[in-house]
Amino acid sequence: MSGSLAVLRAEFYRLSRHRSVHLSALFIVVVAVMRVWGESVIQAASRASIVQRALERGAAPPELPPPNAFAPLVEGWLSALTVGSLLLLILASRCLAADRESGVLRLARTRSASRGAMVVGRALLGVPLVLGLVLISGAAAWLTTAALFDFGPLVEHGFELLSTETFYEELRRAVIATIPPLMANWTFGLAVSACARSPSLALGTSLAAYLGFDLFKQVLGDGQWWIFASFAPSFSDASAMQEMTGVARGLSDAGYSAARYNQNMLLPWPEALLLVAVAWWATRRRAL
């Protein structure tokens, strides 16, 4: 285990100082900010349209409730998570393959790490990366939302559709539900990276699998829910955060059922372990 922790510490140090990782984090922040800002533009346009229609009818402009922050916050956060999950996959699918090609794995092997430790250490690296992604994207979305919108209960025609407490509770559940599939996503990239002959092949394979599944998962019907990627934020999204966008808009039928939520929380973990085992098996068999 000490070898795995040494690898984890070394890899975390490397990533925390790598310029491409800094740029990726900045990109995630920009996506969150732009999405929230875009939402504010859309809401402003919608409100202006309502006022314009009233004026065209010769009526007095209606009194509109202040724009609500819930939906922009969730949309911004989700957009950043979607981009972030793709970046995580790219990073994971390059790490073992690129390090094997550059010889960095050989260095680790002769210093402190068994082949298993090299894989487990990198798998554990997924924990700070996923948590970092969730926190950075959330912080960027929250700060931008706080600057542009008012937080408060979602009210429509004088009727409170969603209280602040309920929103935060639902948001907490949705964010937590995002973590297991993102971790499995990371280990999927790792497994592809361990099996592929080159970094570019690893990257191409993992992206093709990720986007291919995203495009065709509907074909699987309910079967898609047995695969962790269905729960991860993606471009054809069905994740808990995507459901949360409906909740934030006051849609009564939005959100996972209890059974689906449990599936989301439990299923990705054994799949992630299986993928780590595949990565370990492939790394054991390869010349470094």
């Binding site: 040494a6 100082r17 960095v104 790490a113």
Partner: protein, 308 residues
């Protein structure tokens, strides 16, 4: 307990046999040169010894541990690979910090000391991707010196270095040996290695064809002649008549033969060959250096062309 012991190592890649029945022993404190032409099996031997390749057969012991358990030695074995294997996106000092974390402890030689020893202390802030090949190699050596290595394995450490770089690197290796480190150098830079190694293993065609101290190895060729003739069997018959001459290996296809001329020296050999009607195109004393030993061994064992 030797620093490195390899017994009957075999490794094949598909149908290609890379090394076959390789055995060698490196005692502690030695500066051991593993020599051989390109593709002879030096790197494969070292990769197996370092647990990077799974051998097909044989046993390997590194500081008393099997090669597969090399990671349990906590950095007592350090390696400089033929490619510098640096993290190009990090600076020189960050590369060392990364390696130090991989090492799992901070004892022994610090990053600052390692940089100074390798002669690149002034490059600490530069990105590894912007270093020249020589500087990259020095950084790889500095990285290997972190902690408390007892066995330092260097695969082609001199390639890509200019003359001054080679000289300072050789001085560094000698200094490290004097500090008690065991060094194994794989190289085909014979003239340079001859200045520092104490023991030599020669790998040709995937086999260790000679393992000896440098002195023993060089003693074997002192005073010998190499003769190139048109008819080797006739030359051998003629030379057998020369008093005191001892015939060595010969290669009929290349028209080469090697011999100790005895007390009468080269003139008697030349006369005997001419009298026998042999066309002599060259007769030259074998230089008593590692290069000539190596060439001799290549002629004797190798399918490869003799190095110029």
């Amino acid at each position: 307990m030797p620093a490195l012991r390899i017994e009957s190592l075999s490794k094949a890649f598909g149908r290609t046999v890379a090394v076959h029945d390789v055995s060698l022993t490196v005692e502690r404190g030695q500066l051991y040169g593993l020599l051989g032409p390109n593709g002879a099996g030096k790197t494969t031997t070292l990769a197996c010894a370092l647990g990077l390749l799974q051998p097909d057969g044989g046993t390997i012991s590194v500081l008393g541990q099997p090669a597969s358990q090399i990671h349990t030695l906590c950095g007592k074995v350090a390696v400089v690979f033929d490619q510098p294997t640096l993290v190009r996106g990090l600076s020189v000092s960050q590369n060392l910090a990364y390696a130090q974390r991989l090492l799992g402890h901070k004892g022994g030689r610090s990053a600052t000391d390692a940089l100074q020893l390798a002669g690149i202390a002034d490059l600490a802030g530069r990105r590894a991707g912007r270093l020249s090949l020589g500087q990259s190699r020095r950084l790889a050596i500095a990285r290997a010196l972190l902690g408390q290595p007892e066995l330092l394995v260097l695969d082609e450490p001199l390639s890509g270095l200019d003359t001054l770089g080679v000289t300072s690197m050789l001085a560094l290796f000698s200094e490290l040996r004097d500090q008690g480190l065991t060094l194994v150098l794989s190289s085909h830079r014979l003239h340079e290695l001859e200045r520092i190694v104490s023991h030599v293993g020669v790998v040709i065609g995937g086999r260790v064809v000679r393992e000896a101290t440098l002195d023993d190895l060089l003693q074997g060729v002192a005073g010998q002649l190499r003769v190139r003739v048109d008819d080797v069997p006739r030359a051998r018959t003629a030379l057998a008549q020369v008093d005191g001459a001892i015939l060595g290996q010969s290669d009929e296809a290349k028209g080469l033969l090697r011999l100790d001329p005895g007390p009468q020296g080269a003139p008697a050999i030349t006369k005997a060959l001419v009298d026998a009607g042999c066309a002599v195109s060259a007769i030259e004393p074998m230089r008593s250096g590692l290069q000539s030993v190596f060439e001799t061994l290549l002629e004797e064992y190798g399918p490869h062309e003799v190095l110029p």
